[in-house]
Amino acid sequence: MTDQAYNFAYLDEQTKRMIRRAILKGLAIPGYQVPFASREMPMPYGWGTGGVQVSAAVLTPEDTFKVIDQGADDTTNAVSIRTFFQRTAGVATTTSTSDATVIQTRHRIPEEALSEGQILVYQVPIPEPLRFLEPRESETRKMHSLEEYGLMHVKLYEDISRHGHIATSYAYPVKVEGRYVMDPSPIPKFDNPKLGDMAAIQLFGAGREQRIYALPPYTQVVSLDFEDHPFEASKADHPCGMCGATDSYLDELIIDDAGGRMFVCSDTDYCEARQAAGHKGKDAA
């Protein structure tokens, strides 16, 4: 049941309209950071008020909502956000990627390919990819508007000079439709290839920094690199211990006091579905 003390999905209609306008602008200019007037949400910042506000603005009563945090549906963060919209919007919830119409995520893109009609909402801590080397907001805004992105490569250069290879493994910068350089939020670079040409709508919300940006379906997204150090979507070189998958992003777990390790899919829905279909990894009981 919807909690009647709140408007549908907690935010008032005027605020949702303002956020929707920012989303539409973001979709019209893929990768461009649109400022919006972020609202206080009844949860800590780290839990993703940017993502929550975007979800609140796009949810309809007919939607089925899924929340993933580092690939899992059952972390405290994921459960509280799911419960929040269950209570304030009365929407159906699910852990199944294919059953969901709106998926809010932090740190991952689901393994299962998304389809047209689905919306993926990312929680973003720092939307500005140039922030690392240029702290002045006035200057980064100018760099975006004039397409002066040499500094992004300085960051990658520093990586290679220090580590011998591009060591950036999360929040790996991308160029959208040959125009805006974008921070894809702290997803592993393994997920970067999924950003491009995706059938679903991708929306990015940063609450504290008050920015929304977006990728409409089938957008070109290219990970930055050097000719002699090409981008690689790397992952741990193991199959999943539970479902045997060789194509999924893995978490490394310590399983006993002797320091025994096991690699399992970070996407719990993907792993469980494979196990239910009879796939078995070497560590499965």
Partner: protein
């Protein structure tokens, strides 16, 4: 011959206060122009107006661009002016920290301009950066060190390498040897003189130091209260100053 830079009637006010007033001169390819004058005489204001860091209230700064010939850089679009700023123009600040990224390695500092104009081969960028470190007498082994670990003189030389790596045609320098020890200054001056000669650079150098202009500048402008009071060949102005203020300056009464 077309001047590389033609400055006409540059005036900059700070409110009612004059920064610089009605300055005009031509700079020809390969020439080095020195600008001297006491503190507050408007040297930096003029330099920053010419380099596009300040917008003058009046005047033109016409630069002979590679592609389109002479263009007024004050009325050209900001993207065009910024493009000049990282290709054909270079700016050496008095304080190296204003011209360097202190959180980025020496190689990254030198490589930035290359990456800014589209170079995307790490090995090539690094090789060029290392070559330039050598040309400013910084050991290649320091390529991955941050400028915070460098001495003042090394930082200044790194700033010069970072500016010259893209082969600019015009270098603006504001007190490039200021704040350095005398022996370090001498070495830097020597280096600058060599680079200016080898690369056929044109330069505009603002300084308090008459020894700097004696060594580097072909021509000299003397400024007072925002205006140019005397201009001419360096040796002429220094050896036979005409204006009373230049005479005072040369006789070191006003030297800081």
């Amino acid at each position: 011959m077309t001047p590389l830079l033609s400055v006409q009637g540059i005036t900059k006010r700070y409110g009612a206060h004059i920064g610089c007033a009605d300055v005009s001169f031509d700079l020809y390819p390969g020439e080095v122009m020195g600008i001297v004058g006491e503190s507050g005489s408007g040297k930096s204001t003029l330099l920053n107006c010419m380099a596009g860091h300040l917008t003058p209230d009046a005047g033109q700064v016409v630069f002979d661009t590679r592609t389109d010939g002479p263009r007024d850089t004050i009325t050209m679009s900001e993207p065009e002016r910024r493009m000049l700023g990282r290709t054909d123009w270079a700016f050496v600040h008095q304080h190296a920290r204003d011209g360097l990224r202190m959180g980025v390695s020496a190689g990254g500092n030198v490589g930035e301009r290359l990456m800014a104009v589209g170079e995307r081969h790490y090995g090539d960028i690094r090789a060029k950066a290392t070559d330039w470190l050598g040309r400013v007498e910084i050991d290649a082994s320091r390529v991955d060190d941050r400028p915070t670990t460098f001495s003042g003189g090394m930082q200044q030389r790194l700033q010069i390498a970072r500016n010259l790596v893209t082969g600019p045609r015009l270098v603006f320098m504001d007190e490039p040897t200021g704040g350095l020890d005398v022996s370090v200054q001498a070495r830097l001056l020597d280096l600058l003189r060599g680079l200016v000669r080898d690369m056929g650079l044109s330069a505009i150098i603002v300084t308090h130091d008459l020894a700097v202009v004696r060594l580097l500048a072909d021509r000299l402008m003397v400024m007072k209260s925002g205006r140019v009071v005397e201009a001419g060949l360096t040796d002429q102005v220094l050896d036979d100053p005409q204006h009373a203020y230049s005479q005072l300056l040369v006789s070191s009464v006003l030297q800081v």
